[in-house]
Symmetry: C2
Subunit: 394 residues, 2 copies
Amino acid sequence: MSFQFPLAPHMAQIPSNPIFHLLPKLNEPGFISFAAGVPSPDSFPYDEIAKMAAETLAGNPKEILQYGSTEGYLPLRRAMAQHLRRYSFNAGIDELVITTGGQQAIDLLCKLFVEPGDAVLAEAPTYSAAIQVFKSYKANIVSIESDDAGILPDDLESKIARHRPKFVYLIPTFKNPSGQTLSAERRAAAAEITGRLGVMLIEDDPYRDLRYEGGHLPNIKGYDRAGNVVYITSASKYFCPGLRVGTIYAPKNLTPVLTVAKQATDMHSPTLTQAIVCAYLESGRMEAHLKMLCDMYRARLKAMLEAAAAFFPESVACAPPQGGLFLWCVCPPHVDTLALLAEAVERKVAYIPGDQFYADGSVKNAMRLNFSNEPEDSIFKGMEILSKLLRTVC
Amino acid sequence: MSFQFPLAPHMAQIPSNPIFHLLPKLNEPGFISFAAGVPSPDSFPYDEIAKMAAETLAGNPKEILQYGSTEGYLPLRRAMAQHLRRYSFNAGIDELVITTGGQQAIDLLCKLFVEPGDAVLAEAPTYSAAIQVFKSYKANIVSIESDDAGILPDDLESKIARHRPKFVYLIPTFKNPSGQTLSAERRAAAAEITGRLGVMLIEDDPYRDLRYEGGHLPNIKGYDRAGNVVYITSASKYFCPGLRVGTIYAPKNLTPVLTVAKQATDMHSPTLTQAIVCAYLESGRMEAHLKMLCDMYRARLKAMLEAAAAFFPESVACAPPQGGLFLWCVCPPHVDTLALLAEAVERKVAYIPGDQFYADGSVKNAMRLNFSNEPEDSIFKGMEILSKLLRTVC
């Protein structure tokens, strides 16, 4: 009575995301999680969402509950186009496709363009679940060299020439996992190089609005002259991830094929959750929500940085980000943070081991610490527990 | 400024679903649509859904709005396991995965098992959007021969031996597009043959509860002795498609890999829409809803059959189904229903041309008529318009 059909080889190689296996543990009382990259549930505007859900269902029930459009709920695409103007994007409604979170945007782009063995270029480290998608399409993931200001334009250009990738995948702002932000010069260079060489550039940008200091940098999409930059954003980090609303802002010729890919994948995303995000954007409350969120997370990041300075061994280097959800800490080379995780979980604190963010799993001594999901006192307590553990190995 | 990156070859071949291109026209006043396979919006329990959305958001907001579990909202999996007991399925919660509609279930199964060139066996005609998914994975779609009682077991067995398919895909009950139902004997034979030969059988079963006459037949899944049958169901046809809630009931060893595939695809489906379906199931109202729906659709099918008998040319053969959403009509061989569709749309009536339901588009003279989405008087009127058009060519 066992099911033993062989998986397609590329799927057999994909490990499950370790964050998800940890989830049951993380909900135990007293557990302090720096693991999942989740917004604080204290930030969710519950009452307003409940009100908007009720109003939406009362006002436009047939459209909300019937099959909807694959490209996304039209009023949301309109509101999202407006929202994107804050980034100086003048996106047409026919350049936007709503997805089930930013994750589906990455999946659809791979579905459309990647064949087994095709190269894709990405930062190292990069978003672990993007690596998971690339592997599920059997892509050859090639890393771009970086320094403190982000990827090196020369290396980007030479790797494009050498590997002819289907696309370059970048998270230029408060990158998951390292919190690093690509400099304005290098953003311009990335757009220029990929445009000139005729390679698609995917700018994955879910953290942009979570800036706690400094001024906003122009997006790579803003430098797009060749029409080769595809921009992904998501309401998961700055609003509510459970609603699963992501957006692709793509060159106009791409949206019809994205739509065909999405039709074949899930027909369309649920309309009610799209309508809730739409109503919130239309209400004009998003700016105040983002300010509240930035104030909350700025204080939490400050607490985590203070705790790291106070408790962590000196041999552990943490790079303070200007925004986002993550602090990236690098231990001495002999430390294996994956091996250490079991002991951390025993002590009721969790993080994500750095190897998850490398396609080849090669870097074993880093850890990603999320600071958005715990209040300051828990952050201090958790960092103290973690530092005691780190002192046993560092 | 044009975007001209080459699509992966398998994606370049997939036509967009013609139903979706028609959608804007179908909403014009006075248009009578027999095209899309949609439930009647008059059937949606608006007030109850609005109430349940509000209660859900009030009662459990953190879980509803935060990242959720990839397998699906646990209370829904519990309620769905209970719902499936009506089909004599004793499904464990760990055998169920919630998907974004039944469409995503098909996509995930292909993602896990199909490599380019792999054979999959299906009925002909079969669900057009399943064909679209199979093509998006570059599958070799092989048709199983049928007669009036459904697929021929001998042909199934010989084609499995010859093509070694990754799976057999069947819609045994009120099949889209033809409304045909596979006999109980052949259901047992399909389970026995695929189980003995070690081939996965996907039973796609969204229409089962929409039976207007006769008694329910056992599901193929009910004959599963080898643990090789994967069952798909969806709330889209019997409840509200805009909520996008589908379910895979799979052998227990398959759910972990389905979960990994779904993680990489969209992380999880929105929780609020899952919670609404859950609340409705838990409320015990689904039985009454299904009865109301069957009464409504029975009358509409009756109207369509009467109109076909009264108006259609004798050379057009329509096979009355016992349930589901579709009447399948076959015109004389020289008729091209795709070519005829433009003229039908001019006359403000639409259907889906039969070629969409054949992987090779070979059958040009059939049409699928949906009867659930229009009241009886519109059905009569639309059938009269359509019959006049048919008389010009039949």
